[in-house]
Symmetry: C2
Subunit: 261 residues, 2 copies
């Protein structure tokens, strides 16, 4: 256990950069999880924790947790409280933060060919929406989530927090070419574009029983025409109200529910 006394310490700069830069996270292959609940969850999930950081106050209050955590983690550090606050993404930091390796993101098609339920997200931008969707997908039992490269980073601190640790466990794949991914999926399953169109079918009629891929689009603009065209089917959620629109995480939640139930 090392102590860090200065904000100029290179570790502090490293943590700040990891929290703020998606491209640096990708380069390093790691991300940051903060808070007792998430960090406990990371250990329970068997996530690959590279290093741990504790504030002095946290360390003194949760010595047992910190020492247990230290056993399985290569490097751990204690930070003066004011320094911890500087690297924290929250207003009232709990005082514990792990650096964790990103998951291997390949989806094993063999395991989803028969009856796999896969959710794809195209250009979902809001980290709160993305976190909620990942949490719902994991809780309801989606087999994998595919994200277009235009989605916000799944390893941003807000997404990690909102996902309630789903990012530690849920098989995820970043598709550089989402329409191409959809076409590959079509060779063994049915794909649905969530889009209101002349030939869309109502979600209340239910989805296919076999391998199913459901694709949900961007908050403001929905799906791209290319991704819609790649799907074998189109579906819409029937609405009656004046607003005539759902938040993307609400829409995704309902579609996931119909897909897995």
């Amino acid at each position: 256990m090392e102590y860090i006394y200065s904000k100029e310490n290179k570790r502090i700069k490293y943590l700040k950069k990891l929290s703020s830069s998606a491209s640096y996270r990708r380069e390093e292959g790691v991300f940051v999880a903060e808070g007792l609940r998430l960090c406990t969850d990371a250990l329970d999930s068997g996530a690959d924790v590279v290093s741990a950081y504790f504030s002095e106050t946290f360390f003194n209050a949760h010595r047992e947790f910190a020492e247990q955590a230290e056993d399985g983690i290569k490097e751990s550090f204690i930070l003066r409280d004011s320094i911890f606050s500087a690297v924290s993404d929250t207003k009232t930091p709990q005082g514990v933060l792990f650096v964790i390796k990103t998951l291997d993101k390949t989806i094993d098609f063999d395991t989803i060919k028969d009856n796999g339920k896969v959710l794809a997200l195209e250009n979902v931008q809001d980290p709160v929406n993305l976190g909620t969707i990942l949490r719902t997908a994991e809780a309801l039992g989606v087999d994998a989530v595919v994200l277009s490269s235009g989605c916000c980073d799944v390893y941003s601190p807000k997404v990690v927090r909102g996902s309630m640790g789903a990012v530690f466990r849920l098989p995820m794949h970043i598709a550089a070419d989402l329409p191409e991914f959809i076409r590959v999926f079509n060779s063994f399953g049915t794909s649905y574009a969530a889009v209101l169109d002349r030939d869309s079918v109502s979600l209340s009629e239910g989805l296919d029983k076999g391998a199913v891929l459901a694709v949900v689009g961007n908050e403001g603009n929905g799906m791209t025409p290319e991704a819609v065209a790649a799907c074998t089917n189109k579906l819409y959620i029937p609405m009656r109200g004046g607003a005539e629109s759902l938040n993307v995480s609400a829409a995704a939640g309902i579609i996931i529910w119909e897909m897995v139930k």
Copy 2:
């Protein structure tokens, strides 16, 4: 159209207080809606707009909208941009803000007795969750939403924004005694407590066809025992994942979907 040049103007203090204080909103019987989309929505919904506030920049860019709006609104004001920023709830204000009368909150039981679908929320605390739930409830066609008095204020700026204007249109009722409301509902319909318990039934088995009330609880603690006991039925959303929990707005969305479809 009056001009406001000073932050010390009593209107400015009034707007700030309306944005920040739920009890003041209740006292005055009004709330604030901000942004072009919401304000247009308020006019289209026939909401009772008491006064309108425009920033100079907005007024010059949207003179037609401002002048049309002025027709139906008793008082309207133009604010220097820096003053508008001071009353705005957003980081990058669009420059338009309406003060609107709260809706009459009584629910007409005669209209929901036969086949009404009602959602009740007990002590939902987060304004983002509440806004999303109201938006989903309206879009999918819930007939009314009942809120326990422990819920966060439905007229807080964040809820109004997140609801996408559903607060202008959705029949809502604040129940001082939610268990009592549930018991009254039971005299003509079926009530479901969203709670995982020994005798809960799975949501995948579907809900009753007639008048249905579904109750969802607080983010951290779920429903109170009193409200659970008042319900005729209990239901749970079957989950498979490691997290074993859904965000309350995701859970409410799925329950609403099953209730109305």
